[in-house]
Amino acid sequence: NRAVIDQALGILMSRSGCTSDEAFGKLVESSQSQNRKVSSVAQNLVDEAVRRARARRQGSAGG
């Protein structure tokens, strides 16, 4: 769980230029507003980023 949470922090930091503490705050806020565990929100963020990356690679390969 810690690895996924750290990866999610990295994603948030990259997208918004915030610090790791600020990114953690965003993760916690999302967890509270969605009524889901922090680790679950983090996993979703990582999964979404990986999906986008793979879709981009397929698009590049296609032309």
Binding site: N1, R2, A3, I5, D6, Q7, A8, L9, G10, I11, L12, M13, S14, R15, G17, S20, D21, F24, G25, K26, V28, E29, S31, Q32, N35, R36, K37, V38, S39, V46, A49, V50, R52, A53, R54, R56, R57, S60, A61
Partner: protein, 197 residues
């Protein structure tokens, strides 16, 4: 999202107890530790500072004599946001499993109405000479992987990119990860235009 009602109530009782004559704070802290133990399997102890009339009172509860050595993750709550606690009041929970406290501190903070800024993870870890910076390095590495994922890499190419950056700089991957994180910010870091591979 389940919230430990007993845990939240225990924390509230502690922050109001200083105003109540005859209350045994150590009993209340012990009770809190029992509640946390029920919520977190790898819980090893807690450290609390309560400030009353500008005087700090510190209390520690450990599950065993070796508990501090077992701690691999910490979660801190700044209690000053509670109307009954003075600035400087805080509680730190320790557990043996990395990530074990994340949901607990998020749940507690929500139940107590604390802002996200009043919560922090892994900033109060006891010094572990045997592990050195290993845990911090792993955290930095995974954050850097997250950055690379956001920039279009998949997990495999993200790890290869980190190795490539480390090789270019003649440094460890941990140092390369730190450098990558340090360069974050709008328009500060751009990946190669070539598709990752």
């Amino acid at each position: 999202m389940e919230i430990s009602a007993a845990l939240t109530e225990d924390l509230r009782k502690l922050t109001t107890a200083l105003d109540q004559p005859g209350v045994d704070l150590s009993d209340l802290v012990e009770q809190l530790a029992v509640s946390v133990t029920a919520a977190v399997d790898s819980f090893v102890g807690l450290s609390m500072v309560l400030v009353h009339n500008a005087h700090p009172f510190g209390l520690n509860v450990l599950r065993s004599a070796a508990s501090w050595e077992l701690a691999r993750t910490s979660a801190r709550l700044e209690l000053a946001a509670l109307s009954t606690a003075e600035p400087g009041s805080s509680i730190v929970f320790y557990a043996a499993t990395p990530g074990a406290l994340t949901d607990l501190v998020a749940d507690l903070g929500y139940a107590l109405g604390l802002p996200a800024a009043a919560m922090s993870i892994d900033e109060n870890l006891p010094a572990h000479p045997r592990t050195g910076g290993g845990l911090t390095d792993m955290s930095t590495l995974n954050q850097a992987i997250g950055v690379l994922l956001a920039q279009g890499h998949d997990p495999g190419s993200a790890r290869r990119e980190l190795r490539r950056l480390a090789g270019l700089a003649g440094s460890s991957q941990a140092v390369a990860a730190q450098r990558l994180l340090g360069e974050l910010g709008p328009d500060r870091y751009r990946p190669s235009d070539a598709p990752p591979g």
